[in-house]
């Protein structure tokens, strides 16, 4: 940058001009954008607080965009409580291509985005960048308001391999093609039962496999962010498998065991009953766009975990949308699948408060049905003690947890995520109790359940104590020490959040509680085939001149 350069922008006048032109292309006020950009740059330098920045332009932004959802709003409201957040956020924006830049500008308010991308365009995106990525994509021509992903609670996984089996059955996979893979490991010699990793495809927002593909066969589905392989386009060069740092790809080295006819017949049988979207073919192979991306791959092309596009497209009925085979099969509910863009989705809610999620899942079997409660309570008094005494299935501890869950939850029992079914059962039970005359929000009940402090004589009862409720849940269900995304430093922006221990660089796989060979998958041709841990053992049978030696 020359000394004459008047640009406020670190990348110089030329860059500034270029972006100004881009702003002119949008429907919004370029001057406002540039002015905001200049001030936003001051924010990143610390010369202007986020709160001040927000305040200064709030009216202009409202006038121009009709809404001010700039990321500074929170800072404004919390008055710098969270100083540095905005600048950090800008740093993490990844300027990957023209489209996302434009999208960013429209969404975030042109100036802020301009600075963020220009000044820090080269920075690596971390997990913090997800809201930005989401914002960028929302502004694109192709609207993406869904990003499927998972929260996986590693401390809940008991290594039963039900998910691996369910995946093999759902997709009719060959032996050793473990799209879903569960492994135990030892880290620095420390072996605890919690050292376990559940490894589906991470469906990365910045998928390296997609980047290196010489054919576009490996692609991200625009509307929901699933990373899929078009089996009709793939040439089988295996570069995606090489580029993926997680090792989630499985090449179809030979003719698959299950024919497409068998898969289709099975699909007709199972999907035929469902009331599904007519756009989705009944074959469990083509997705709603008509591209062959689901079920096992044909010979000579690459395959990996798909996160069940046929389900997400409504091909298995409305109930199956937002679920995966592995999630459905998991006995301890360790897998939470849903929309990562939605704060109320299963994975986001669960990751936000794992103790709540665990308790909700645990308690579900113990929550008495409304009918049972009505029968039990018939004729009983309506105080807490009498109710608990009269009810066969409801004890104090269960009710305490049920109530604690409700206290820490927002929008309890609302929404279409899977966990709301559990919540709904609790709501029904509560309704039955209320109908009987027990006021669950009363001082008597809340104090009786240790979910509120008893007020002093001169104080008014101030309702439930949220932290007490949270403590109840943590004591009951436990809380993971950490959450993480796998190999975050690779810049892949994975869409799976793990709760539990992160394996270190010296972690080594050890035998798990259940051997792969001891689990059988029922496939479309009627056969029952044991799973295989190591694909090479299966493939060696076909190697020409396999002498059993290795380099």
């Amino acid at each position: 940058m020359s000394t004459e350069d008047e640009s406020f922008h670190p990348l110089g006048q030329e860059w500034e001009n270029e972006l100004e032109t881009m702003l002119d292309d949008t429907e919004y006020d370029s001057d406002l954008g540039m002015q905001m950009a200049e001030d936003a740059m001051r924010v990143t330098k610390g010369e202007l607080s986020e709160a001040d920045f927000h305040e200064k332009y709030h009216d202009d932004v409202m006038e121009e965009f009709g809404v001010d959802d700039r990321p500074t709003e929170e800072a404004y409201e919390e008055a710098q409580k969270n100083a540095g957040g905005f600048a950090e956020m800008l740093k993490s924006v990844d300027s990957d291509g023209e489209e996302s830049r434009r999208g960013m500008m429209k969404k975030m308010g042109a100036g802020a985005a301009f600075v963020g991308l220009g000044a820090f365009g080269a920075s690596e995106g971390g997990s913090e960048s997800e809201p930005n990525v989401a914002a960028a994509q929302e502004g694109d021509d192709t609207e993406q308001d869904v990003q499927w992903g998972m929260a996986i609670d590693l401390e809940r996984c008991d290594g039963c391999l039900s998910c691996v089996e369910a995946c093999a059955e759902e997709n009719n996979l060959d032996r050793g093609v473990n799209w879903m893979y569960v492994l135990d490991y030892e880290d620095n010699g420390v072996d605890t039962s919690r050292n376990r990793l559940v490894r589906p495809c991470q469906h990365c927002t910045d998928a390296p496999c997609e980047k290196v593909c010489p054919t576009t066969a490996r692609h991200t589905r625009d509307n929901d962010g699933l990373v899929l392989t078009d089996y009709d386009v793939c040439i089988g060069c295996r570069y995606c498998q090489v580029a993926c740092p997680y090792g989630v790809n499985y090449f179809q080295w030979d003719e698959p065991d299950i024919t497409t006819e068998d898969i289709e017949a099975q699909a007709q049988e199972e999907m035929g009953d469902h009331d599904h979207d007519s756009d989705v073919p009944h074959d469990h192979m083509s997705d709603e766009r008509g591209r062959w991306v689901d079920s096992r791959a044909p010979r000579g092309v690459m395959s990996k975990c798909t996160m069940c596009p046929t389900r997400q497209d409504g091909g298995m009925g409305e109930d199956a949308v937002g679920t995966t085979a592995c999630e459905d099969a998991c006995p301890p509910d360790a897998i939470q699948f849903g929309n990562m863009f939605d704060d109320n989705s299963d994975p986001q809610t669960y990751a936000d408060n794992p103790a709540r999620g665990r308790a909700l899942s645990d308690i579900d079997m113990s929550v008495p049905s409304a009918d049972a409660l009505e029968d039990d309570l018939d004729g009983a008094d309506d105080d807490l003690e009498s109710v608990l005494e009269a009810s066969e299935d409801l004890d104090e501890e269960t009710l305490r947890i049920m109530k604690a869950i409700e206290i820490v939850s927002e929008d309890f029992g609302e929404g279409d995520a899977s966990h709301t079914e559990y919540e709904q059962n609790i709501v029904d039970a509560f309704d039955a109790l209320e109908a009987h005359g027990l006021d669950l929000d009363s001082e008597e009940v809340l104090v009786g359940l240790d979910l509120a402090d008893e007020p002093d004589e001169d104080e008014e009862f101030d309702g439930p104590d949220e932290s007490a409720a949270q403590t109840v849940l943590v004591n009951e269900a436990g809380e993971p020490d950490s959450n993480f995304q796998l190999l975050e430093d690779m810049g892949t922006n994975p869409n799976i959040i793990y709760l539990g221990n992160e394996p270190g660089p010296q972690a080594e796989q050890v035998e798990g509680p259940v051997a792969y060979e001891d689990v059988e998958a029922d496939l479309a041709d009627g056969s029952s085939v044991p799973l295989a841990d190591n694909r090479k053992d299966v493939l060696d049978e076909m190697t020409v001149g396999d002498a059993g030696v290795s380099l």
């Binding site: 090792g247 010979r299 000579g300 190591n534 076909m542």
Partner: protein
């Protein structure tokens, strides 16, 4: 130099002889290629499971193996054409003119073998056109594999153009002595089938174009020489690996220069072997002289030095205080015979070459051949190890199946013999059709600038195209 005077007859000799040895070599080469083609057909029929490959990670194997190692090796050998063209066309080192065309042909043959490996390696080679070309405008922005295909194709086209242009001069002058082929099929005498080939090659030729062609050739040579080292083995081929942070033994900027030095050592070795074979077969002692071998050997020594020096850089940075996974990868290098062996072989060649420079009596053609063979073996093994080591020591090395097991299957091993056979056949056929030594070289050795007249043998520094070089 020999006492014999090089003549047109010398360079026409391959086209005018037909020996039992030729037939035998042809048969062996064809058998090797044929055997591999059968293996490949079986692979196409059964799937890639016939190889020793598997999925890396939980799959317990390696995704890429000997096919990719050999692919890199052949592209490396194909660099022979660049070095010799650079030496002769751009730097005026006319000493190497007699082997320049052989080297350029080796480029075409090597690239063909490499291209063949890309097909052999793919699960669905039938989709090469529809899937790759059809999405080229999108994928060329991202995929290093597409960059590879692009640069290899460009290199092939440029080299073929270059060869085609320089052949016009020779064919136009030697036309009457070039072979004809008019078979009698079912009692019917067919016209000369080769005539159209030569006609096309010399289409519209006049002597007036010689100077223009010389200038064109100079520019094409310059383009190739800029492109090939910087973009091919110093660029896109190493970038297939070097841009992937998940493999410590691959990742990093040194792979460009490292690949280039490996390519140049194998390329020079290839030219040494090829030149020796032709000299022996056609009594070309006076054309491909001992002096050429000494010079090539010296270049080989220089590139071996660079090769080892860059390996040393990697060993130092990989073992001093590297990350956990990087140190695993480096520890493997220091102990694995597929790495240590090639390094010692190259070191041995280096020591020999420097020794014979100090003491010329140590030179012999046999030893030069041995040096070439050693280096070619070392580079093939090292490149294969390089590919495998990435999968053996990935950053995410938690899997029990990692490092994976691998031993090339019979079909994979046959591919080496098959592609060597293919390249041999390429030369056996080509040498029967066109002169593999430039007419210019003969003229230069003779010291004349005209055509077809015997002159007294005298060394001349200036060649006919010299002024164009400076243009």
């Amino acid at each position: 130099m020999s006492t014999k005077t090089p003549s047109e007859d010398d360079i026409l000799r391959p086209m005018h002889t037909f020996t039992k040895k030729y037939v035998l070599l042809f048969a062996i080469a064809a058998l090797a290629l044929g055997a591999f083609l059968v293996g490949w057909m079986y692979q196409l029929q059964q799937g890639m499971a016939v190889t020793g490959l598997s999925d890396w990670g939980s799959g317990g194997g390696v995704t890429w193996g000997l096919y990719i190692g050999a692919f890199i090796w052949w592209v490396g050998i194909a660099h022979g054409g660049i070095i010799l063209s650079a030496a002769v066309r751009l730097l005026g080192m006319d000493r190497y003119m007699p082997v320049a065309r052989l080297a350029e042909m080796l480029t075409l043959a090597g690239l063909s073998a490499a291209g063949f490996y890309i097909l052999v390696h793919m699960g669905r080679p039938d989709r090469m056109v529809t899937s790759v070309i059809g999405h080229y405008h999108i994928t060329v922005n991202n995929s290093p594999l597409v960059w590879d295909v692009t640069v290899i194709t460009a290199y092939f086209v440029l080299t073929a153009t270059y060869l085609g242009l320089t052949l016009r001069y020779d064919i136009a002058r030697l036309r009457d002595d070039l072979p004809s082929f008019s078979p009698n099929v079912g009692g019917k005498q067919l016209p000369d089938l080769l005539a159209p080939v030569y006609d096309v090659l010399t289409l519209g030729y006049t002597k007036a174009e010689d100077k223009v062609i010389d200038r064109m050739v100079w520019w094409v040579a310059l383009a190739i020489i800029i492109m090939a080292p910087l973009l091919l083995h110093g660029g896109v081929i190493p970038w297939l690996f070097a841009v992937l942070p998940n493999y410590p033994s691959w990742f990093g900027g040194i792979q460009g220069p490292q690949f280039l030095t490996i390519a140049l050592t194998s390329a020079i070795s290839g030219v040494i072997l090829l030149s020796y074979a032709f000299r022996r077969a056609y009594d070309w002692d006076h054309i491909i002289t001992d002096d050429i071998f000494r010079g090539l050997l010296l270049w080989l020594g220089f590139f071996c030095l660079l090769f080892l020096w860059l390996q040393l850089q990697q060993l130092a940075t990989g073992s001093f205080h590297s990350t956990t996974t990087h140190s695993y990868a480096t520890a493997s290098k220091l102990s694995h015979p597929m790495y240590v062996g090639p390094m010692l072989m190259v070191l041995g060649v280096l020591v020999y070459i420097f020794a014979q420079t100090i003491r010329p009596s140590l030179f012999s053609k046999g030893r030069a051949i041995a040096a070439g063979l050693l280096v070619l073996t070392a580079t093939l093994v090292e490149k294969t190890y390089f590919v495998l080591s990435g999968f053996w020591y990935p950053s995410f090395n938690i899997y029990d199946g990692s490092p994976g097991e691998y031993f090339p299957s019979v079909i994979e091993l046959l591919s080496i013999a098959g592609t060597i056979g293919m390249v041999t056949l390429f030369f056996l056929v080509l040498s029967k059709l066109v002169p593999v030594v430039e007419l210019h070289a003969v003229e230069h050795l003779r010291g004349d600038h005209g055509h077809g007249h015997e002159h007294d043998h005298e060394p001349v520094e200036e060649s006919a195209e010299q002024p164009e070089v400076e243009a």
